[in-house]
């Protein structure tokens, strides 16, 4: 059952309290491995907070949730040929297209050397992406910088 706005606020409050405790913990942990582990947990909590805030902000006046469309940061359009030049080589950024939206994976840790599990950047990877990530939630964390013509 979908949560009401009040329920979401309560969940947000709890996550924020846990995140606050994580931050205090990080200041006390002497070990880099421990700090790294806590920072990963903290990153996941921040992501949850952002998602809940987005849902709350998108609620209409009746409290219904309107799923926001993926926000594209610029209005730039790419042809397939233009996209192909952004292959993460020779100083060029690494871009990939999924479902008509172009994403910048240049600094995405999973795209070292502009490649990801054998997939090359500078391409439309819609089909292979959906076969590996059916829920598409991973796209939320990647900057969307344009659209594929």
């Amino acid at each position: 059952m979908a949560m009401s706005s009040k329920e979401k606020c309560l969940v947000l409050l709890n996550i924020a309290k846990e995140a606050d405790r994580d931050i205090s913990l990080m200041c006390r942990i002497p070990c880099i491995y421990g700090r790294n582990a806590v920072s990963c947990e903290l990153a996941a909590k921040i992501k949850e907070i952002l998602e809940l805030c987005e849902e709350l902000a998108a609620s209409d006046s009746n409290g219904k949730n309107i799923r926001p469309e993926r926000q594209v940061q610029t209005s730039k359009s790419f042809t397939a040929e233009e996209l192909a030049s952004y292959n993460g080589k020779n100083g060029k950024p690494a871009y990939v297209a999924v479902n008509g939206i172009v994403y910048d994976v240049t600094n995405n840790p999973a795209w070292a050397a502009g490649t990801h599990f054998g997939q090359l950047s500078g391409k439309d990877l819609s089909t292979v992406f959906l076969s590996c990530h059916p829920d598409q939630s991973v796209l939320k964390a990647i900057p969307a910088i344009g659209e594929l013509k």
């Binding site: 491995y33 080589k89 100083g91 060029k92 950024p93 840790p109 070292a112 050397a113 502009g114 054998g118």
Partner: protein
């Protein structure tokens, strides 16, 4: 040489002792309860034998401990003195669930498996394909050791002329998967000890034990702060983050940063070379290029 944080961090020391603690408990249980030693069969199929070599390099616990205190190793073609059909006969007559089966190497499927003959049985060549089918389903537990047994690995690298596959493709029984090229001796010893003590360890969605494969290398990398601040190495030997050289730490779940290798003294990133993702599914093809100088940084 140990870094300063390696000397003082109790969590770091604790991690190294996971396998040792489990093995020690298994031995105590065997001695206390008179539990008979479980038979262990180690099959080397289509591979390089790198995993048995890695296991022989195990430090604490070591291999002799494994075969004298924990299990009764009854078959390993690299180590046993028996040969020919006599060696094979010893394992073909075992009762159902009478042994744990550890397998390294993939299984070739083309030409009816004749690309890999591991011995002779009843006067005929015994292929890897026949052996895994005959022995796999009757084992109490199956452990795929290393990249090739887990998912095909190097043996199945493109274009895969022998039709090599991971062993799960040929078995209906669940296979516990320990990817790695090779598999760390602790990963195998700890998993085996857990099986003897408590049964199947907690596994992730790809049947990897969470106690060894739950976090990516990136999450525990000592160079993580360089990544977060965008300070990147330009060549192997540099002391900063090697993301721009193609490091696969972010996509590889393994505890190499804390456990390290070769008596826990070193691992690739500590030695200033990027991770090549050898413990992730799809290695080597999906992890290529292992190193790249032509990347998102201008050269």
């Amino acid at each position: 040489m140990m870094e300063s944080y390696e000397r003082v961090c109790p969590k770091y020391e604790h991690r190294i002792e996971t396998a040792k603690e489990l093995v020690s408990r298994a031995r105590e249980k065997i001695e206390r309860e008179g539990m008979p030693e479980k038979k262990l069969i180690w099959l080397e199929l289509t591979g390089c034998s790198g995993n048995i070599i890695s296991l022989l390099d195990g430090a604490d616990p070591d291999f002799s401990y494994l075969i004298t205190a924990m299990t009764k190793l009854i078959y390993n073609n690299s180590l046993m003195t028996a040969e020919g059909e006599a060696a094979i006969d010893a394992i073909m007559e075992l009762p159902e669930a009478g042994y744990i089966l550890a397998v390294e190497g993939a299984v070739t499927t083309k030409a009816n498996g004749m690309y890999n003959v591991i011995g002779r049985w009843k006067g005929e060549p015994l292929t890897a394909l026949q052996a895994i089918k005959l022995l796999g389903e009757r084992a109490s537990h199956i452990i795929a050791v290393g990249a090739c047994a887990t998912h095909g690995g190097v043996s199945a690298a493109n274009p895969n002329p022998s039709g090599s596959v991971g062993i799960q493709r040929l078995l209906t029984k669940k296979v516990i998967k320990l990817p790695g090229c090779p598999c760390h001796p602790d990963w195998f010893m700890g998993t085996l000890a857990h099986l003897l003590l408590y049964g199947e360890p907690e596994l992730d969605e790809k049947d990897r034990p969470l106690m060894f494969y739950s976090r990516t290398i990136h999450e525990r990398c000592p160079r993580r702060s360089f990544f977060d601040r965008g300070i990147f190495a330009e060549k192997p030997g540099d002391k900063t983050c090697m993301f721009k050289l193609g490091c696969r730490g972010p996509v590889t779940p393994a505890d190499c940063p804390v456990r390290q290798w070769n008596d826990y003294v070193n691992w690739p990133i500590k030695d200033d070379t990027p991770c090549i993702g050898c413990a992730q599914f799809g290695f080597p093809d999906a992890m290529e290029p292992f190193i790249s100088y032509d990347t998102t940084r201008e050269v």
